[in-house]
Chain length 753, copies 2
């Protein structure tokens, strides 16, 4: 049955992509490669827009694809088998990887018509980059990949198996599955599984015993010691942490790399090629992809799982929802004491009276929490929008976990949002709650709120966001130095990990926390450059804020150590998923490349072809929020989402702040709908983005298996279960081939050397 279907598909492809079609595609492609927009987007780097390597390479492609197809019509075997027999061409490793998956595909699929192989000779002669420059670029990119691989492994974060395989191949070593940074599902379950039937997510009876260790901060890093005596002598347990000097060396290497002329030229050309290649893929295979999806029963865009990968809990309801909630709370609770005003307890009625407001008259206009034209390029104005009616009292009352009513309203609103998601069934979200680092009690209070109000939903995975506002706290003398802030953030988590029973509520809460986010306005300049000469956190006692990179390094380093300790204890580990590249310097994206499992925003990848290409090679997921950007940093039509998606970067769609940006009752669907309309996304595009969102998310292994298929950890078409994801296998094969092809080029570059 499956085979017959495959044959049918092939015949159809043959029919569809006749000579006329191909001639047309070639013509369009020729103009495509000269596309003005593509040029503009990275024009700051002064690269020849007419790139001979690409023209030649693509001509070769089309030619080969042509031949391959002709042969294919005579023989139904995979074109990859043929490629091995061809003289003068080097069969790229992808062929073997891919043909393996051809041998036993999870479902029936057809490889795209773009047939990928290339001769080193033609590459060199055509590229008009000298052999030296090509080697130089490949060497640099190779080292960059190994850097990320190292830091991901250290912190139990992810690195693509395919990229690791190529790295080992380059090193002349054999890839061992056990080496891989993204281990198979049998080995590791980094996130807490959803409670089984009848199990209470707040149950504390199975909390592990106290290990009796001691945790202390030194030079901004928490160390774990066997006991107080060892701590006094600084004889920490063997939990590898990133070496400070090596990290800075690595960072400096990457800074040099992204500014290096030949590498900029090379990556710019590769990215342009990736763009053009996708456009050709689309022209040739769009109808095929659609046909696959139409034949896929019972699954469409609506019942594909999607995760809102980036959303702030304090703005997770839309403006109308908040308005309704305020009105309802007033109807029910107007005589309740809800606030302390200048030391005096006041009822809700008195509070509203003091603001000269009656909730009945309140509208979304007077509520004034929606971003508008006024907030564009004004993050400060945007932050003020968090205050309903401009009154911080109302923010305190409705959107805080700590207040006179113990955050009851905030918990209720969040549970209402969760209940909407549960009803919608296919939507999940990863809301962020804040820890500021002002006070060591914050964790206890936050987890107390979480447990008291039972703020749990199967459709939510929690994240902790740390605002980068040391300067404000120091200015008000809340903390003596930056080290204390780090200590307040991390020490309680270490302690709860060492002795869970000492703080059961926190321990339960941590089970449901999946990662850390770093948040604030990236466009603010710190004026500080992270280097070996930077003061240690405990010495950082000036009012000035440290740089983004400084924050990122210390967060990452502590999370890495924490994850090792938690992994030893069989506990869930944490992902580092900072806001990055929304604005500010490209070095932010460099820091995240070294430390983050995945990021939010990533807009500024537009500005660095080297980093953009590295994010592609390492398939770092990027949660993009074009509606948020549209109100803050970048007009919708200029958003690079479509471009990134076409080039093969792993992008997902997220809402950021529904309260400020969205109009409808289903903010995530609104986000998808607008992207689909403005960017003219196909169903396959939308389902691929949905699938990316599940991959990026911190849903548990069980959930991912349920939503994506049993083999979801495998890369390429093997890992895709179209019955669950509604992503065409042709698309998956195209993505996988394309990644392998680019990785192989690096290998070839190093081999040539």
């Amino acid at each position: 049955m499956m085979r017959k279907l495959g044959l049918e598909l092939k015949t159809l492809i043959k029919k569809e992509t006749d000579d006329k079609m191909r001639a047309f595609a070639e013509k369009v492609f020729a103009s495509e490669t000269k596309d003005e927009n593509v040029r503009d987007e990275i024009s700051m780097f002064d690269v020849d827009e007419d790139c001979p390597i690409m023209h030649e390479e693509m001509a070769h492609h089309l030619h080969t694809s042509d031949n391959a197809e002709k042969r294919q019509s005579l023989n139904t075997a995979s074109p990859y088998l043929h490629s091995k027999k061809r003289s003068r061409t080097i069969a790229v490793p992808v062929a073997s990887v891919a043909s393996k998956s051809v041998a036993a595909p999870p479902h029936d699929y057809k490889f795209p018509l773009l047939f990928l192989n290339v001769t080193i000779k033609s590459l060199m002669s055509a590229s008009q980059v000298t052999m030296d420059d090509f080697e130089l670029s490949c060497k640099g990119l190779y080292r960059a990949l190994t850097i990320r691989e190292k830091y991901m492994r250290l912190a139990y974060q992810r690195f693509p198996r395919t990229s690791s395989q190529y790295l080992r191949d380059i090193e002349g070593e054999t890839f061992k599955p056990e080496d891989q940074v993204q281990p198979g599902e049998e080995k590791r379950r980094p996130f807490t599984s959803p409670p089984k039937n009848g199990e209470d997510p707040f149950d504390t009876k199975d909390l592990p015993k106290n290990l009796g260790y001691v945790a202390r901060m030194k030079d901004g890093l928490i160390y774990v010691y066997n006991d107080a005596a060892a701590a006094d002598k600084h004889q920490p347990k063997d939990l590898p942490c990133p070496d400070y000097d090596t990290f800075i060396d690595d960072m400096n290497f990457l800074i040099a790399l992204i500014a290096q002329g030949p590498t900029k030229t090379y990556t710019h050309r590769r990215l342009k090629f990736l763009m053009s290649k996708f456009n050709v893929h689309e022209m040739l295979n769009e109808m095929e992809e659609m046909r696959e999806l139409k034949m896929n029963p019972h699954r469409d865009f609506y019942n594909c799982r999607k995760v809102d990968t980036h959303i702030h809990a304090a703005a997770c309801m839309n403006q109308k929802h908040l308005l309704r909630f305020i009105k309802k709370s007033y109807r029910v609770d107007s005589e309740r004491v809800v606030h302390k005003l200048k030391g005096k307890e006041v009822t809700m009625k008195e509070l509203f009276d003091s603001l000269n407001l009656h909730p009945y008259d309140l509208t979304v206009d007077s509520l004034d929490v929606h971003a508008g034209r006024q907030t564009f390029q004004r993050f400060d104005k945007f932050n003020a929008k968090y205050n309903p009616v401009g009154a911080s009292e109302l923010r305190d009352l409705y959107m805080k976990t700590e207040n006179h009513i113990n955050g009851e309203y905030f918990a209720t609103i969040i549970k209402e949002v969760a209940s909407d998601l549960e009803d919608a069934k296919y939507q999940y979200a990863e809301p962020r709650l804040s820890i500021y680092g002002c006070n060591p009690n914050e964790w206890t209070k936050l987890s107390g709120w979480f447990v008291k109000h039972r703020v749990y939903s199967p459709n939510f995975k929690w994240m902790i966001q740390i605002p980068r506002i040391y300067d404000i706290f120091r200015g008000r003398d809340f903390v003596p130095h930056f080290g204390r802030m780090l200590e307040n953030i991390f020490l309680p988590v270490f302690q709860a990990t060492i002795d869970p029973q000492s703080n059961p509520e926190l321990s339960i809460f941590l089970k449901h926390v999946t990662g850390f986010d770093s948040v604030d306005d990236e466009s603010k300049h710190s004026g500080h450059m992270f280097s070996t000469k930077s003061p240690k956190p405990e010495e950082w006692d000036i009012v000035k804020n440290p740089s983004y990179t400084y924050y990122i390094y210390y967060m990452y380093a502590n999370i890495a150590v924490l994850n090792q300790l938690r992994k030893q204890r069989g506990m869930n580990t944490f992902m580092f998923r900072p806001h990055c590249g929304e604005a500010g310097a490209v070095t932010h994206l460099l820091a995240a490349f070294m430390t983050a499992d995945n990021i939010s925003h990533g807009l500024n990848l537009k500005k660095s072809p080297v980093l953009q290409y590295l994010y592609f090679l390492t398939q770092i997921p990027i949660a993009m929020s074009p509606l948020s950007n549209n109100s803050l940093f970048l007009e919708y039509a200029k958003n690079p989402l479509l471009e990134f998606h076409k080039k093969g970067l792993v992008v997902s769609l997220s809402t950021d702040d529904p309260m400020q940006f969205h109009y409808t009752k289903e903010p995530l669907m609104e986000e998808y709908a607008i992207a689909a309309q403005v960017f003219k996304l196909s169903t396959c595009d939308m389902c691929e983005i949905s699938r990316n969102s599940v991959i990026q998310s911190s849903l548990s292994d069980e959930e991912k298996v349920h939503f994506l298929g049993h083999d979801y950890l495998k890369e390429g078409p093997e890992g895709n279960d179209i019955r669950k994801t509604n992503v065409a296998q042709i698309r998956m094969a195209y993505r996988f081939e394309t990644l392998c092809y680019e990785l192989n080029l690096i290998k070839e570059g190093l081999k040539a050397e």
Copy 2:
């Protein structure tokens, strides 16, 4: 209280628009008038982009506004009073109209800071159009206005009172309110009022008596006669109908006008001026408008009434809704006989079996009713999307009023959509049902379906759409000539109007019908030009389709006569609201200018500055559907909606076909949300568009009073009740002033002569 508030507002304005702000606005304005996009949009007319009339005029404005404001800070009286005292300037009539409304505004409001007056001398010296050209343009525009006024009056359609006042003024006559084409609410209720409590909308007991008249078609027009004898002698009753030759004369005049060089230049410049003026208004008054809205209790964008002014009943559900409905119907009705297949009755199960489908497996992908990249510029492919799974059998079963189950499913889906709107409370829609003109029984069948299934909802106002597909019917020999098609469309309605009791179901249905639409692919060329030499409809027996204008003329002429007859009987009348300007020739828009109360689409107004300016002067409402256009004719970002809105054309937002274009459960909200995001509309913009949609709609007078305020028929700020519409009075005043200013220019042009 009101006065005090007004004073406060003025002080606030004073504070906000200080010198710095004004200097900034002037600077931005200077660049604004050179805006490339504005130029591009009408570049086909080869007009100087650097338009001295405008620069000079605006400089004058800003200067005057400056002075006016200074004086204002010393004196709180209206600046209009001052303007009358100024020497050398001509106080434009708007001043008196407007200052009257200042005297007794329905609510407190402040006029915008753009103070509008101009000297003829400065106009002439600055315009660099010769006095002759200026007069020529004004003369032409004046005549065009009188043409529309005449045809609107004849058919009981609307023409703005303000424009009529200026026309009488030009003619040296006194404007009499009883002359106005849009009569006051006490005089005329063109649409059926909603049933009072307990009243049955299907009640037939009060149907009027038979008048005994005879109706017959002659030369494509239905005439009404006292009796058969009079009919045989062609002695019709005195129901004025448009004179054929005069109509063609008028049309030819307008065709010449829109091609006339000086008028093109003049209107182009006026439109550019209107655009720049709005941008300045926005910069100066945006915060003021927002302040008004914030002070407006209990009303915001969400609870403003909005009407989906253009939606097809057969596609009024979204794709997911249709899918769910099909699945549900199969679960309940699989053994029911629902269809006749090749003469044999089949159950639903058998029907699906014959299509090789099981509804359980069905997805939105296989349903395939959504427009995508494939439908762009392909109206034919788009039309095929009306067939679920590409099967016309399913279209018959689910989306037709006539089929084996008497349209039961279609009625049920429509009632589900209506019930969603009723739940949403603030949304209304005007769905179109088809009459084809193939058969005189169509009306009886359609009204039978309507009454049998009680397809009534307070949130729906019904319209009849007539597809322009005579060529197909003639080709299949369904009709002998075009006249028969017209007869099939209109004669039954005349007969039911003369003798309502002869067809009670149709009479009831007609009570709920509010207008006629003309639909089809406008981009198809007919190759026919409407002129005095055109064959009469009864002589039009070739297979070729007549032109758009020919269709429009005969629809309009019959509706005009029908409306007179119905008005005499105290029955509701019909609006003519064709699809127009979605594609094809600009003459379509010219025909609609002469005949239509309002139109859908209007995109091609982009192509004719003269028509665009005339649509502005006569405030013809335009139901725009940018999401539909995005899938069919024009990319979203290029949609002229924002431009039209800024210039002061009356635009509303509509969905067209939610089944094909929308993703979410609330298609109209999706339409608004996307427009708001992509065009960065302010709340005031969105509420103004919502208000426009109610104005454009055929909601009854009672409903409009309820939704817009008691004085909604008055023009300008007087007619606005901010408590109901949430549109700032500043905005209303700006719009009114701007319209009066442009009308006054025409008056001045004619006076100069």
